[in-house]
């Protein structure tokens, strides 16, 4: 039972990360019918943005002398997280504006190849040896870096189950962001417009909805969520490198497909289910094949229920 609960805690903490990244995939797919291949790399950029920002604001580790006060920790952690979200939001806007928008009315394959190109440009651009040295070393180069400790880790032990304040804060921030997104999508004018564009972008345009602006904001929102996920995950797993967005992106994509791609609640549920599935399967069996689990889930979903848990299967009309 203890082991079961421990896996539950770990699974939830991984699952919320997948869910946040999956939201970006699913929202972009909803409005553009495009699998944004570069989304996993936006997540990676988010982690590096957090890394550089914490260098710039001078985050002091909890073991520094004198240790940072609670207020300072809170302010700096907020600056790092919000800053990374803003930087990634801008990146998402730039990618959409200059790589995807010119191709919006061309063949689907063209947009897909461009997305792949953007993804590899980010992955390998970040692996170049540093060109800029002050105030930060950019690009970071291929070797992994250690994300600074934004706050002190406090471990709790409860009936044999260990969890830390990282898990709790991460879970709360992620839940807050998801609730915020839920509010934006279902309760605001922007959300209504976004759902209209996703339903039929041409007719939405005829009804006076600024389709381009809605699509841009969708990218900004999705990328900002990915950045938040990256910071949350980097605090507890501090090793970051330019290629680490690849696997995270793939898994988040699996989560989006599992929940039904295009469905916002689906992505959240899909992320949690995938995180838990991975944790339980890897925990009770040989964990060296951990990465293969998500892939198996994807194949099973595609075989059994291609529309996902929350998606409706639509027949393509001409």
């Amino acid at each position: 039972m203890t082991e079961f609960l421990q896996h539950l805690v770990n699974g939830l903490s991984v699952g919320t990360i997948y869910a946040l990244v999956a939201l970006g995939y699913t929202m972009v797919y909803g409005v553009l019918k495009l699998i944004n291949f570069a989304h996993g790399d936006v997540y990676m950029v988010g982690a590096f943005a957090g890394y550089y920002l914490s260098e710039l604001v001078g985050v002091r580790p909890p073991w520094a002398d004198p240790p940072p006060g609670a207020g300072e920790v809170f302010v700096k952690a907020t600056i790092v997280t919000m800053g990374a979200m803003i930087i990634c939001g801008l990146l998402g806007y730039v990618i959409e504006r200059f790589a995807y928008r010119p191709l919006r009315h061309r063949a689907r394959l063209t947009a897909l190849i461009t997305a792949i190109g953007v993804s590899f440009l980010l992955e390998f651009g970040f692996q170049l040896s540093p060109l800029v040295h002050t105030p930060i070393e950019f690009p970071p180069g291929p070797s992994p870096r250690v994300f600074p400790a934004l706050l002190e880790r406090v471990g709790y032990e409860w009936a044999g189950v260990s969890l830390s304040n990282y898990d709790i804060i991460g879970l709360l921030v992620a839940l807050g962001l998801m609730l915020g997104l839920q509010f934006i999508v279902y309760r605001t004018r922007f959300g209504t417009a976004m759902r209209a564009v996703s339903f039929d972008s041409e007719v939405a345009g005829l009804m006076g909805i600024p389709v381009n602006r809605i699509i841009s904001w969708t990218f900004i929102l999705g990328s900002a969520l990915a950045a938040a996920a990256a910071v949350i995950s980097a605090v507890s797993r501090p090793r970051i490198e330019p290629l680490f967005g690849l696997m995270a992106g793939l898994k988040a994509f699996v989560a989006a497909v599992l929940g039904g791609i295009g469905s916002v609640p689906g992505a959240m549920v899909g992320g949690l289910v995938l995180g838990l599935a991975e944790e339980y399967v890897a925990g009770y069996t040989d964990s060296s094949y951990r990465d293969a689990i998500a892939f198996t889930v994807l194949i099973l979903v595609l075989l059994i229920r291609p529309a996902g848990l929350f998606g409706r299967f639509t027949v393509e009309k001409v």
Binding site: G117, L121, F295, I299, L302
Partner: protein
């Protein structure tokens, strides 16, 4: 007469090619230039990879990013077989002939294994639209690598070393010719027409009675099998098979080749595979920027010239190659069509 001519058309490239390759091989052995042999082998293998990937990405309009994964399957299958048969000889044959026979067996097994992997990956993902295939194949490539790195019998991260040198210019050249002839014959066959129909409009193709999933899976399996062949050949040229040779970077290289040459053009694939391989060799010192340039090239090509250099045109579309063949062909087709 017609079947004979059909047969001849498939074998003519080999009748011309094999003597040329044999003399090239002899010249290389005579001059003893190892480096150039390896370069030519790399060019040949890249031609095989590009032309075979073009069957899926170009002719069918799907998008696979897992070519390196199938290469890995082929390379490890063949390596296991040659290592396992290393001590055996067919006593009634000269040693060299016996070795080559075993190598042929290993290549065939590599193609079969890669093709089987193609079925496993393609069947679920090709039932849906093309974008799923891209992510599933990318995932597959990474998974196959992590499986290899975890398997003791496959040498884990260090891979299999100590393979005998079996790949020579004749094997590579014949395989490359076979790939090109396969792609060409495919494109003029019923199967090829179905693939083009799927590429142009999947819904319309289905409405016309084309079994879209079936044809897509078949194209994918053919492509995977030839990728396995390429992997087996390169492993027996550098005498090594490691997971690092088959990362997704390798898949992307092949994708860049076919996108640059023109999706759907066999000529374009061959030309850009040769040019890019030789060009990279010449620009070795800029190795670090290679992938960045590739990525930027993909984006710029899509924005400015999405059809690539050759579009879907082929060398044999030129009037020069059509003078007599085309008219006779038309007559032959009419006769064949008229026969009960």
């Amino acid at each position: 007469m017609a079947p004979l001519r059909q047969l001849l058309r498939s074998f003519l490239p080999f009748l011309v090619g094999v003597p040329v390759l044999l003399s090239a091989q002899w010249a290389m052995e005579y001059s003893g230039s190892q480096a150039y042999t390896l370069l030519l082998v790399t060019v040949g293998v890249n031609v095989i990879l590009a032309v075979s990937l073009n069957v899926v990405n170009g002719a069918t309009g799907q998008f696979s990013l897992g070519h390196a994964g199938f290469m890995a399957v082929g390379a490890y299958t063949a390596a296991k077989i040659t290592l396992g048969l290393a001590g055996f000889k067919l006593s009634f044959l000269p040693a060299a002939v016996s070795d080559q026979l075993f190598f042929a067996l290993a290549l065939a097994a590599a193609m079969a294994a890669a093709g089987l992997a193609g079925v496993l990956v393609g069947l679920p993902s090709l039932r849906l639209r093309g974008d799923y295939l891209a992510i599933v194949t990318l995932g597959f490539g990474e998974i196959i690598r992590s499986v290899i790195e975890n398997m003791k019998s496959l040498g884990q991260a260090t891979g299999l070393s100590g393979l005998p040198l079996r790949t020579n210019l004749v094997w590579v050249g014949v395989s490359a010719l076979a790939t090109v002839v396969m792609a060409r014959r495919l494109s003029v066959s019923t199967q090829g027409r179905a693939l083009f129909a799927i590429r142009e409009d999947e819904v319309a193709a289905e409405a016309m009675g084309v079994d879209t999933t079936g044809y897509k899976v078949r194209a994918f399996v053919i492509s995977a099998a030839y990728a396995g062949l390429g992997g087996a050949l390169i492993a027996h040229a550098i005498l090594l098979a490691t997971p690092r040779m088959f990362t997704f970077v390798r898949s992307i290289e092949v994708v860049v080749m076919i996108v640059l040459g023109g999706l759907g053009s066999i000529t374009g694939s061959v030309v850009s595979a040769v040019v890019l391989t030789l060009g990279l060799e010449a620009l070795r010192e800029f190795q670090a920027y290679r992938m960045v340039v590739y990525a930027a090239l993909l984006i710029v090509l899509m924005l400015l010239r999405p059809q690539g250099i050759f579009g879907t045109h082929e060398l044999w579309d030129l009037p020069f190659f059509k003078r007599r063949g085309a008219r006779k062909d038309a007559g032959g087709a009419a006769r064949a069509g008229g026969a009960p």
